[in-house]
Symmetry: D2
Subunit: 357 residues, 4 copies
């Protein structure tokens, strides 16, 4: 990863600011002859699109993607694919107050300390709007991976309220505004998050992403580990503060006997694992089990109660962020996490094929 590009062979470079004329990305290295249309991409962007419930920002962005290159007569040509999304609902006036003040928990101060200049409108480059490009690139990555690999995400915790895994139901995920796999918990979250929203506050979340169908052997020792790349990819998503694979932090409390997933003969000479504490990765290489990871998203830093801060001159002041914000930015992080999983896997498919054939 380098600045605004990620991936080695399936390479995605994103560009654009929240309130500029457009955002977009170049997907380079994509294999040729894959069927790809704007509709194939739009379906995933629509999952992430804001304004679809009262629990996400009310900014109205159609997020219509245009393919400007790299696709000919409905098929990828192997040349770079430029995907462009116009910004249509910039209300820069909402952000006048943040021109000279640094919002706590936001990147305002850090950008200024680094660059000595910042496009403060809507957070500029640090806006979560950038993640639309990840989702668009993720749709291309899914085309690379093909139908044999299924990537799904779900929200497993909002604030302190976690789902009950005994009630896990993938079909529920698309039936509530939270991508929640536990229908009972989804109903509780609705009440909880209405309270958060009305209080002008915000809540954090934990997202789980699962990839099924990944064959054994993807990934690479020792700095190209599949889980290392996934950790970096997820941590690069706005507001993410932690990433774990398989048993994750809980593995620290397990004994060696509990943690090491035993094997028995499975289909076609492959092992059947009796558990998946590894999360599908051992030594940085996939084992053929499901790839399972989770990441934690902090509560949206834009809240309606005034917060102490400093201004550009270093003076004490306070700020109250009006604008239009997600009370729980973690919700829309679900399709983003899926997209990052897809991109990392597509890259590793190609890296594996390169070395091992």
């Amino acid at each position: 990863m380098s600045h605004n590009t990620f991936g080695h062979l399936f390479r995605v470079t994103t560009w654009g600011e929240s309130h500029g004329p457009a955002i977009g990305c170049v997907v380079d290295g994509c294999p040729p002859r894959l069927a790809l249309s704007e509709a194939d991409i739009q379906v995933w962007l629509d999952k992430r699109r804001p304004g679809q419930s009262r629990f996400t920002t009310q900014r109205q962005e159609p997020d219509q993607v245009k393919i400007l290159s790299g696709v000919f007569e409905g098929r990828t040509t192997g040349t770079p694919i430029q995907l462009l999304i116009e910004n249509v609902d910039q209300r820069s006036k909402d952000y006048g107050d943040i021109k000279d003040k640094f919002r706590p928990g936001h990147a305002d101060y850090a950008y200024m300390a680094k660059y000595g200049i910042r496009d403060y409108r809507g957070g500029g480059r640090s806006s979560a709007r950038e993640t639309a490009c990840r989702v668009a690139a993720g749709a291309v990555a899914r085309a690379v991976l093909g139908p044999g690999i299924r990537i799904r995400g779900a929200l497993v915790q909002i604030g302190p309220h976690a789902v009950d895994r005994a009630r896990w139901d993938w079909t529920a995920v698309d039936a509530n505004p939270f991508f929640c796999p536990d229908p009972v918990k989804a109903a509780e979250w609705e009440t909880y998050l209405d309270g958060v929203r009305k209080a002008g506050s915000s809540a954090g979340a934990v997202i789980e992403v699962v990839a099924e169908g990944v064959p054994a052997g993807w990934g690479a020792p020792v700095y190209g580990k599949l889980d290392a790349d996934l950790a970096g990819a997820m941590m690069s998503i706005n507001a993410v503060k932690g990433v774990e694979i398989g048993a994750g932090f809980a593995a620290a409390s397990l004994s060696g006997e509990q943690n090491a997933d035993e094997m028995e003969p499975g289909n076609e000479g492959r092992p059947r694992f009796r558990a998946n504490n590894a999360g599908g990765v051992l030594g940085g290489i996939s084992t053929g089990q499901d790839i399972v990871l989770r990441f934690a998203v902090k509560p949206t830093s834009s809240i309606l109660s005034p917060r102490d801060t400093i201004d550009r001159d270093g003076h004490a002041t306070s700020i109250l962020t009006k604008g239009r914000h997600d009370p729980c930015v973690g919700i829309r992080a679900v399709p983003v996490g899926e997209a990052m999983m897809a991109c990392v896997l597509a890259d590793h498919l190609m890296r594996h094929r390169a070395q091992v054939g």
Copy 2:
């Protein structure tokens, strides 16, 4: 990160297997004219060296580093620095049993699935012995960072037993065999881990690494985020299953008011933050606060009770890993985590200087 190299400008490439003649690394891109001797590196290797207490592997490796290039008359020249460590205590006979069987929780099966061949002796390339090279490279990175940046690590949890942060004492870290900052807990761990060791079992751990003195402005949006690179770097360490920054996973349970660290005027126009839930990074860029991260290490998969598995032919069998192993591999991960922090920071120092001057 790509295969066996990490870093963009401060680049480290490691090589070598557990039971080959030697291991080593090339550090490329190092600034010139820095004072650097083998002794400067050896001090950090000695912290990680096995066999120093009954709680780590009894393999006797002096881990004497040799500088083969890139240093002239005690100073770096700007050309690649080759660091070589000979392996002297390979007892390959200990590993005869693993030639044809896949140890649960180890990378044996994954390597075979990927490459169709593996150096099974001592785990070959997947052995934690590789981390000696990280520690050596980390010593060079510390020379790049200079005395103004202090990087320290500590073990904050073994098995289910966490330290009491109210008793945190950095001076205690070097006074017990666990790098434990809580003297009371260190005594308890001794008893606990003796039990684990005698039972032929193993325990996981959580390591915390703190970097003080990092100026605001290091890191880069959006795929070169400082925390994204740190997450990838830590997850690339053997046996790590989770990484978190600042409040980490706990941030998911905080409210927006609790999480966003308020600012007030500090020294020289810089802010003073009232808390550090961010872990020193906002928008992927350092804020001038301490960089604080934690990572979880799973229990050593080599344990003395037999475990079910399959052999190379796909048949059911069981394996009992004798050899010489760490009952808690997380202990020696402390200097490794420090080293990775140092390498990532050195890389970002140079990346920042490149772009912003």
Copy 3:
């Protein structure tokens, strides 16, 4: 360099096909706070723009550049700069004949052999139209380099007709349609190239690019050599078949005494070189002398006389390329070569600053 990106720290990723809706590039890693406007870029694009004389293609493209990101209130912000140029004069009907036939000397067959698919309209991705993006990126690179570094190119040979270096006059370069520094030769070329054009034939060329003001010390051993990067950059330009630095191929015929540029004391402790056979680079590192290189461009492969070839089914056929083409594509390669020089130097400025400060 990797696929459609070049540069390490000053990174340019181009995208787009000759007859798609647009072409463009992302410039990533640009330092912040540099003054940059569309007009600053347009001036260089106008130098390369087709249709400005009868000696270049008659395709009418205004090549109006739009800055979509990375610039705020007239200054770079340090975030990726997306530059977009719409295609307005695609006449795809001109290319119907090449849909199924491979034009000799063109990339048609090679693309098909690689990808099994190609956007044949106007050569698709292999069209020299892509070089407009290089020129746009080069304008940004010039902003990075600042006014102290001057990069100029000139055409020194068309067909077998070379300039007389005794008549070299930089001011003449902008006074004729060939970027020719020899006014006498420019007049001769006019007659010569009219003959070529009327015969439906084409001519090759040699371009020289000179960078003045580059300080000693840029570049890096041994695979990041300044001249190695320049050679790769120039050879990546369409139709280029050779690159040389300083004395170049002629150096093979010199004696050691003739070739090694002697030094004497110059200004401020720096050497004054008595000659520049090195072309300003020794050991891959700049010496403070002018960087001088030349590259050869083959004659345009699109010519009006029928040529034998095969079709997609492998059958013998012949093709006559009508369309609108440059009788000497080398002319417009002058601003392209300048741009590539600028990009490579901007990258090395940053790489040098990263390592040495």
Copy 4:
């Protein structure tokens, strides 16, 4: 390419100075299960080894390579391969005079200007001794390419004396001390170079490298062009001042009709080309023809007549380089050029396989 590493997937990182204890390289990304022994590598090192005739340096280096990692029971494992060559014949006393003086035509001044420090012994990192590592890596690359691809180099010019291509005989190349394919010219060169040697002077050279058996489709638009990577690779070799592909600089003088290689139906649906002005590459992608390139090597800068220069304090002085030097360093560049061709092709084999399968 970045500093001391080249290649993307077949990655070679070299290290070491002329008069340090050893030099070496790490080859990362190599496919697994390839047969590879030290003898397989030694055969190529022996071609480049100094002291084999009176026309190369009399430094006595056995250049015995050791494989320290990445090979198990005679086969590559897919993990990094460390190749080490000890320096045994350093006579640093020969170089006392160059400690404080900058040799004209050498990298002495450039290194000092860049780094402010240099290992002056034998040129340190800038010594052509580094090329032994390239040759070692090239041997691994040949194993990747397999027996179907044949890479051969020849010296086609020494000083102003070029071979007669009508007498080209590949079997002659190994029958004279110059790798000369023209037996008549080889005899003339012997006389010529004896004169140069006895005069304490030196001569330049031109090397041609040909790769047969490369399938159509390797390479990539537009900055990953096969010829762009080859040009960068060759220009990175010490003393190289120019690179050309196919007709090269001569293409500038051809007409479009002469230059564009016509095609007719060949074997298995592939074209048969009537000429190879392209040098086997169109649009940056191989066509299935032989890859043909040439590069020019300047005369050795170490000569026995005194040359004017400056010292470290900027004062005028003169220097006479005694030491042990090649009167024509271009001779030993033949196996180096072959090795670089092999490495670039191995990298592109893997890059092509990654994207297209």
